[in-house]
Amino acid sequence: MKKEKSIPGPVQKAGTIPTRMGSWSTAKPVLKGKCTFCLFCWVFCPEGAIVQDEANRKVTFNFEDCKGCGICVRECPTKAIEMVEQQGDK
């Protein structure tokens, strides 16, 4: 995330993170079931990696930020998200 040049020290515009966590993940969430657009996953995602598709309103995942923690899977009321193991380079 680009930091505004004029602000010294460890300060970020609210809602942004300095380090992208994508490289941490060993598994990634995939939307397989029915998304009801409740956005529980968006609320609970610690990395802000969940994005709502403007066209069909379904959730998608930003894998530069997703660290593969699986919290979205646990929080989804319709169990629509599954974790898929990743092997080797993503």
Binding site: I7, P8, P10, V11, Q12, A14, G15, I17, P18, T19
Partner: protein, 392 residues
């Protein structure tokens, strides 16, 4: 208060510092009392109780909390003040590093006192030296007047957008803190013209939200740290700039990062920080009267370290006697180490003789300073390192 005049007062350096905090229009004071700092915060509490100072005083349960509270004040966009000594500064250690890394423009007055064990309430500079690498700008003062003037300047230095680092003003316990001397206390209007309200870059603001003091890994961490170093180096220039402007308004100038006293044509110099430099001036005068070519270099800014000014003044002399009121145990005095590093690369550099003295409140009388300078006069360039404890 608005109509008050600049007055000459017979006060201790501690009271001078309290006056400076009042004149700096500090919004919040958060401090915990400790000898020999206590009378600073006592005076400030009295000014606030008497309505002479419009500030909130937060009574905290520890020095750690005191500095944390001050950081909160800065986040809110206001001006904070705190002060401590010795064990209190040690207890603050974690937050000292936090404040510097987080680029909080705080001002702290440390009344330098020895560190336990052995237990002692008396003076040396071990406490401040032990905080050297926390990232604070550290300035050592000689008199009550200099302490007052430097607190006012410290806010300008810290809050400068090219710096944004915390500043520690150090004064020596008892020699300064509890000894009365004539101090010119400036009037509020003149101070206001020198020190305007704090202009924060970022504050806690719901309409323009920032995450303040965030974490960072790897290259982000490194980049912020590198920026911190750049700012700390830049602070050297800003100290000069602010000192010059202060002199134009108030008529008192302290020479910048170091002060040279009778160094012209000197064969040997004494290098020291803090109140001992007052005695050293007398010693230099006496020895000059005896025809001995000696001078004094008073190091005012310990961080940022004044490498270039020191190289310039030290390189022509044969030897420098460096008086440390501290020790990096297992090596030598911290000032001596830095002095030697500053001379690195000079062909045939002057000898550096390190004397450790004034520990735990021990006096360093004129005879002993003379002894150090005589030893330096007798030394040649290229002399092997010399370390001597002089208090016993």
């Amino acid at each position: 208060m608005a109509t008050e005049m600049s007055v000459r007062k017979y006060i201790t350096a501690n009271e001078a510092v309290a006056q400076a905090a009042r004149l700096a229009r500090v919004d919040v004071v958060a401090a915990y009392p400790i000898t020999p700092q206590t009378s600073i915060v006592e005076k400030i509490a009295k000014y606030i109780a008497d309505g002479e100072m419009d500030a909130d005083y937060i009574k905290v349960e520890s020095e750690h909390s005191a500095l944390t509270a001050c950081m909160g004040v800065r986040m809110a966009g206001a001006r904070a003040f705190t002060s401590t000594s010795s064990q209190g500064l040690e207890y603050m250690h974690e937050m000292l590093a936090y404040a510097a890394g987080g680029r909080y423009p705080l001002v702290l007055v440390n009344v330098c006192r020895s560190v336990a064990l052995p237990w002692s309430i008396w003076g040396d500079q071990q406490d401040a030296i032990q905080q050297r690498d926390t990232g604070w700008i550290q300035i050592f003062t000689e008199t009550g007047q200099e302490a007052l003037d430097m607190v006012l300047q410290a806010y300008r230095i810290a809050e400068d957008h090219r710096v944004l680092l915390p500043v520690m003003i150090c004064l020596d316990s008892f020699i300064q803190s509890h000894t009365e001397e004539l101090v010119q206390v400036p009037d509020q209007k003149t101070v206001d013209s020198f020190l305007p309200r704090y202009d924060p870059v970022v504050t806690l603001d719901v309409d323009n939200p920032y995450s303040i003091s965030v974490g960072g890994f790897g290259k982000h961490y490194a980049r912020w740290r590198e920026e911190q170093q750049t700012a700390a180096e830049k602070a050297g220039e800003i100290i000069l700039e602010v000192g010059d402007e202060f002199a134009r308004i108030f008529g008192r100038h302290y020479g910048g990062l170091i002060e040279e006293y009778r160094c012209d044509g000197a064969e040997a110099v004494l290098v020291a920080m803090g109140a001992f430099t007052g005695t050293a001036r007398e010693v230099v005068d006496e020895m000059r009267d005896e025809g001995k070519n000696v001078g004094l270099v008073k190091v005012r800014a310990f961080r940022p370290f004044p490498v270039e000014p020191l190289r310039k003044v030290i390189s022509p002399v044969k030897a420098a006697a460096v008086l440390d009121r501290d020790c990096s145990w297992g090596y030598e005095g911290a000032l001596a180490t830095d002095m030697k590093a500053a001379l690195y690369g000079l062909p045939n550099p002057p000898a550096i003789l390190n004397f450790i003295g004034g520990l735990g409140g021990a006096d360093v009388p004129p005879e002993r300073m003379k002894y150090m300078l005589e030893k330096a006069l007798a030394a040649d360039r290229g002399t092997t390192p010399h370390l001597e404890f002089i208090d016993r």
